[in-house]
Amino acid sequence: MDAIILQILNGLDKGSAYALIALGLTLIFGTLGVVNFAHGALFMIGAFCAVTLSRILNLSFEIVDESRTDFLGNPLKFKTTYIETWLGPEMGGTIIEWAVPLAILFSIPIMIAIGFIMERGLIKHFYKRPHADQILVTFGLAIVLQEIIKYFYGANPIPTPAPSALTGSLDFGELLGFQANAVIYPYWRLVYFVFAALIIGGVFAFLQFTTFGMVVRAGMADRETVGLLGINIDRRFTIMFGIAAAVAGLAGVMYAPINSPNYHMGMDFLVLSFVVVVVGGMGSLPGAVLAGFLLGILESFASMNEVKSIFPGIDQIVIYLVAIIILLTRPRGLMGRKGVMED
């Protein structure tokens, strides 16, 4: 029992990331009808927003303290960050410490701006071109974005720690009455899951309860009719693209402490996110979320030693296997609408 709970918990954080990326992918597909291979790059850029903010906060200068000397008799040099100098060591230190959560605020405008530029500058011109062209041009864009990041940040992963207050682990087992240390779960992963749930809830609420969301949903169902009503659906779709970019970016920001950001993390997640979208059903938002968590948890179960001893290597392929089976037996995925991209 405790092992099962542990695996479910382990699956949740990856599942949250899958769900968040897939949500944006499917939103873009449902509204704009575009298959966006550059969506993983948005996730990656989000993670690098966290890196950037923490670097900005850590900008420092040298102070020479003449009153103290090292053993050679030279004056001691201290490195002090600007922020600590301005706000005092305590306040400044806390801010540096909390760089990753603060990057949420920092990244939202950046991601929305990137989303707008991408849609207006590039994707807009591809609405009427074949899906293969859309895949190709966004694939090219993904390469460009990741190479730009590589140029500025290098090829190595950059560790980006969570605030130390959140680095410990929660002993879930004790909470539920199992043995101590049976089910241990890092706080940050818990934070990530709650954060993902909040964002997903926010997106759904936004689509459900605002007029803007209503129009977008109507547009997803039948673009032409909505266009006939004289509603400027294109501008709303641009905004949706910005939102999808922000969701992917936020998923990346908060993922930075779990997995040190590197330039190709976007591509790594992209392939799996596509699988998630397809399993959930192209253009289905609840499907993307459900499939994201299901596959995350499934992957985590498949990596249990008990399972691996029966099916060696299953943890490596289980997601793809599920995707292949779903695609062949139920082309519209778990929750896709009938007739949407079925063949």
Binding site: V35, L122, H125, H131, A132, D133, I135, L136, V137, F139, G140, L141, A142, I143, V144, E147, I148, K150, Y151, M267, V271, F274, V275, V278, P312, G313, Q316, I317, Y320, L321, A323, I324, L327, L328, P331, M341, D343
Partner: protein, 401 residues
């Protein structure tokens, strides 16, 4: 000639001449000159040109003709490499059985994956092939280690049986790949004045196989079968309502292109007898997509051009570093020199992939026919100019008369 019409025959002859004379053509600069770094006429790179040319020609038979965009073709290349290396380990160091096996195994593998993937079309097909390729990659990396030697990659050892050959040579080293005794790595160097040309056995074997592949591709393009494949791309509904089941055609194209990839993989292993899982990764599949589109999907010569273009710049461009740039721009005033270098630097050397990505996007956006279409447009521009000049002259001369 060869059952081709005049235009195709001359295309084939031109390509044959270019590949046969490549050691000269690719080494236009004297070995000691400053421009020598742009020479591409060394065996390793020339082999890669033609091997990736084969890979791209095969990919184009699928994507260019039927429009099915596969994101998993590297899997067939990887399978081909593994099969060839196993042949070297078990049978002999002769490349013929190795290459044959790699083509056959890749074909069978493509038949299985194609049979399943072609049940869907459009982006689902792309994602299915992607999923299959990633699965193969992950398996090769982990569980299949006994066959693939996992992360290290499959290599030859002194303990391999090599039933028809020797486990180790007289001096105790691993024997080298050969074609009935002609060593693949054997290179004849010809020094002509300051120039230095290299003729490599492996290159010529690969080049001849590429010419054969190219010839076969022309035949497919010009045949009724090729017309059916273009019909699959053009309109599957009409195809169905003309009493044709499009799936066998698409599957045949898929298997053929898989076998091309297998041939490329087998050749790669024949040139350098090792095989690693990273050859199967989806980024490697993406590379062949880039080559084909950049050169011109659906054209005959495009994929070869694309492969050559990408491999050339990957090797040559990426060698240019900051100090070389400084040498080039040395004649400029210092400030200007530094700004220029700062502007250019991100796009060369290690930044070559950035240039490639931008180029690729530009091609998809503005030149869907790739370099071939670009060439045609420029050609037309010149022709139009000429005819414009003529008409200008005539219009000028008219009032004089």
């Amino acid at each position: 000639m060869f059952g081709l019409d005049k235009k195709d025959t001359s295309l084939l002859i031109i390509v044959a001449a270019l590949t046969m004379l490549a050691p000269f053509l690719l080494n236009p600069f004297p070995a000691e000159s400053a421009m020598a770094q742009f020479n591409a006429g060394y065996p390793d790179l020339m082999q890669r040109f033609v091997i990736f040319g084969i890979f791209a020609i095969g990919f184009n038979i699928l994507f260019g003709l039927t429009g099915y965009l596969s994101f998993g073709h590297a899997a067939f290349l990887g399978v081909g490499s593994y099969s060839a290396v196993w042949m070297f380990k078990l049978l002999s160091m002769n490349v013929v059985p190795a290459i044959l096996l790699s083509v056959v195994v890749a074909g069978v593998f493509a038949l299985l994956i194609g049979f399943v993937s072609l049940r869907r079309s459009g982006i689902y097909f792309s994602i299915l092939t992607l999923a299959f390729a990633q699965m193969s990659f992950n398996l090769a990396y982990s569980v299949l280690t006994p066959i693939t030697n996992g992360e290290t990659g499959l290599q030859l050892t002194l303990n391999d049986p090599r039933v028809l050959g020797v486990s180790s040579t007289a001096d105790g080293s691993i024997p080298v790949t050969n074609l009935f005794g002609a060593e693949m790595r054997a290179t004849y160097e010809l020094a002509l004045g300051p120039w230095n040309f290299q003729f490599n056995t492996g290159y010529y074997l690969s080049a001849i196989l590429m010419l054969l592949s190219f010839y076969l591709a022309i035949r497919i393009f010009r045949s009724p079968f090729g017309m059916m494949l273009r019909a699959v791309k053009s309109n599957q509904t009409r195809m169905n309502y003309t009493g044709l089941n499009s799936r066998p055609y698409a599957l045949a194209a898929f298997v053929i292109s898989g076998m091309y990839a297998g041939l490329a993989g087998g050749l790669m292993a024949s040139m350098d007898p090792l095989a690693g899982a990273e050859r199967m990764q989806w980024t490697a599949s993406g590379e062949v997509v880039l080559m084909t589109i950049l050169g011109g999907a659906g054209t005959l010569i495009g994929p070869v051009l694309g492969a050559g273009f990408i491999k050339y710049f990957e090797n040559i461009f990426s060698k240019i570093n900051e100090s070389i740039l400084h040498k080039w721009f040395a004649f400029m005033p210092d400030g200007l020199e530094d700004t220029l270098i700062a502007l250019v630097y991100p796009f060369i050397g290690k930044g070559w992939h950035l240039t490639l990505g931008i180029l690729f996007m530009l091609v998809v956006i503005f030149l869907p026919g790739g370099l071939v279409e670009g060439g045609q447009r420029i050609g037309r521009l010149f022709r139009r100019k000429k005819s414009d000049e003529k008409s200008d002259k005539s219009s000028q001369s008219t009032p004089a008369e």
